[in-house]
Amino acid sequence: MSVDVSKVASTNGSTPATPQGPKAAGAIANWADERLGLGTAMKKNLRKVFPDHWSFMLGEIALWSFVVLLLTGTFLTLWFDPSMTEVYYNGSYDPLRGVHMSSAMASTLDISFDVRGGLLVRQMHHWAAAIFVASMMIHLMRVYFTGAFRKPRELNWVIGCLLLLLGTIEGFTGYSLPDDLLSGTGVRAADGFMKASPVVGTYMSFFIFGGEFPGDSIIPRFYMAHILLLPALILALIAAHMLLLVYHKHTQWPGPGRTEENVVGYPMLPVYMAKAGGFFFIVFGVIALMGGLFSINAVWKYGPYDPSKVTAGSQPDWYMGWPDGLLRIIPAWETHIWGITLSWNVMLPILVAPPLFLMILIALPFLEAWITGDKREHHLLQRPRDVPTRTAIMVALMTFYGLSWAAGGNDIIAIKMHLSINQITYFMRAAVFIGPVIAFIIARRWCISLQRHSDEKLLHGFESGVLVRSPEGAYAEKHLPLPESQAYAITARDRDPVPETDEEIDAMGLPARQTRIRKIRAKLARLFFADNVQKPTAAELHDAQHHAEHELHELDSQIEAGPNRHGPTEGH
């Protein structure tokens, strides 16, 4: 039998244990610490505690996919030639050999066909971009639904919204760089959008394109924005976003021992170093698999951009899809005054709707704080059901977004579902307005029902699955009290504040204007909290617990009595 030496003590007790020689990693850390003072700087942060929940990792997907974007993007810059110099393609893709195109397009084809691993990296870059923006969006939804945007985190919410905007612009500039037929059509559309702005439109377009579309400077300019300006801004905002995260500390779900003053979880080192670090490799791996297996933006099929050509299925990447959808469904509204055409059909969906949507998004935390009058700090999250109006607002916004988004793919829906594109357009015109209202009402009532359900579980316990027959022959299912931790999580929420009545405001004797504003606010607050189910009072809970004990006792005696014999008859 062999002996595992590592488990044998190096001392028998009579002689002191011999210290092991320093490990390599420890030696390096020590070397660095003695010269840079890292230990002091890191002591606090290495042991910083983060709470554990899968939904807290959605922002991490965005972070890691951004890292993948930086890595793959750097690779692509080595071969991409951001120039509109006109060349004849002479690479290995035969069906385009000898075709007249820009250097940008030719070098994109070279990356795809002649650079080793080029197509893989190009596709990884594109998939990572799609996932980057998507993960920012679901991260935003998580933060909103759980109330993590409340004081003191409002500014981090604003930074997040700006990141979403920058990510979208970054995506669009990248989509435009290859100068293929699809992206050229997109740039042409962008040129049209700029020109639709009243008075300054043409100037703006000439300024950006360096003359009339397409000119020969748009690709180099987009390239500068895409690889320098926007990534730098995004990096700076990500840094600010994460510093604020560390400064505010992470929010956590309520539970036993978790309060507004502490954070319960695991330390950064080693737990999150491993979890987050491992997650980076998973994100990288998933994107690499997608880049290797799934086609994205096969530019050789589109061919070079040529204003005389266009293709069916010309859509932007998904994150620009919803304004495109609005553009597709808006009626042809135009006004002609003083020899000027105002293209409402372009202005409203492209120049008005997206900035408005972003403003609403940014304003949400401030609006809610103003309506509820809640100026306290919050570090415990709320379940979406516990703030029904807030949840319903986001569901309504999502419904609007989703319907506009679907409208952006109206042609694909038409051919795949054998529908008329006209009927889809008519339906969407109404649905983008009616849909969010219906969704708001359903989501709100659904939340309230769930609140009621939580309260019932708290007061009457959960369904035990034990069926009991009473002496009269009636059957009833026994309920058992919730485990302490679950009951705690449900009761951790606050009862909603009671909004001021108009009489109370009148009685304050404020100046007329302030009274009016205060009344509007109170009215909104009443709407905000209307019909919410409040958590049970301590007395109700106590009664319920007492009742549950009694029932449990009764059940025990029934079980003891054995089948077909009955304990004391039931009270209710």
């Binding site: 554990d52 899968w54 069906p95 993960s135 695991y266 998973i282 086609s295 096969a298 061919g303 038409a414």
Partner: protein, 291 residues
């Protein structure tokens, strides 16, 4: 040689003579008559064959087509005055060969567009139907194989054909049929069908006759050789491997967006749940042992 020249010269001396015109006329008449005598009987045989084919086609037409297109292919109007079945008097044989040969005709039901489906007539029957409809008026005939068959392109010119065809395809076809021929939507429930893996003859005939909502690309618009180039390009698309992986129908950014969300983000959120479900313990066994 000199002898020939001399005799020709002698003949030439009489070319302005009084009987020269009469003689030339006589020769011309004899030649025409002789040729007619030699060739006319054969043509009469062809006519008889063709008449039989037309008659066979007419019989098929009366059974399968006349309900919508009228007993003599004159078309049928609805009560509202719109077309129930259009007149077929000048559509030509190529149109019949395309519509019936791809299963679009006969239609199973009225609709915004006749979908491609299983072919119901045999090749002989289609030829008979084409002959009958062709006999009703003018219109393009069924093209010869050498016009459309990409196999007839000389090997050293193949790539030149493909490149030219690709550019013609992108300029004229992709606006409706999509950049790789996956199809696209048209107003009021119409659609430009998927045109991958379609018989070259049918692609050629479609360009020639402009079926349903499609434009007609006459030979003046796209010469036969360019049509063949487009077919060569589509053949290349069909035969080329998918360099970039699964294309999800080749529909462009919409399908890519769906994949990014469902596979990409869906998968990553799944991993997030998986990671969060595992605590600091490196394996479940240890966890259970500790419990």
């Amino acid at each position: 040689m000199r002898l020939l020249n001399r005799s020709a010269g002698r003949l030439s001396r009489h070319r302005r003579g009084p009987i020269a015109g009469v003689l030339v006329l006589l020769c011309g008449l004899l030649l025409t008559g002789g040729l007619y005598a030699a060739l006319a009987p054969a043509q009469a045989d062809d006519d008889a064959d063709n008449a039989a084919l037309v008659q066979e086609g007419r019989e098929l037409f009366l059974v399968g087509c006349a309900f919508c297109h009228g007993q003599n292919g004159e078309g049928v109007l609805t009560q509202g005055g719109s077309q129930y079945g259009p007149a077929l008097t000048d559509v030509g044989e190529a149109a019949v060969d395309f519509q019936v040969g791809t299963g679009r005709m006969p239609m199973a039901q009225p609709g915004s567009q006749a979908p491609r489906k299983e072919v119901v007539y045999t090749e002989e029957e289609i030829a008979a139907l084409a002959a009958y409809v062709g006999s009703l008026g003018t219109g393009p005939t069924i093209p010869d194989g050498e016009l459309y068959d990409p196999e007839t392109v000389p090997e050293d010119e193949w790539n030149e054909y493909v490149v030219r065809g690709g550019q013609i395809f992108l300029a004229n076809c992709t606006a409706c049929h999509n950049f790789e021929g996956s199809g696209g939507a048209m107003p009021r429930g119409g659609y430009a069908p998927k045109i991958r893996d379609v018989d070259p003859k049918h692609i050629y005939e479609a360009m020639l006759t402009g079926p349903q909502s499609m434009d007609t690309f006459s030979d003046g618009n796209i010469p036969p050789d360019d049509k063949k180039a487009v077919i060569a390009y589509l053949t290349t698309l069909n035969e080329a491997p998918s360099y970039s992986g699964f294309t999800f129908g080749g529909l462009g950014p919409v399908s890519e967006g769906i994949i990014a969300w469902l596979v990409g983000l869906g998968g990553l959120v799944g991993f997030a749940v998986w990671i969060a479900a595992h605590t600091t313990r490196s394996s479940k066994k240890k966890d259970e042992a500790a419990a």
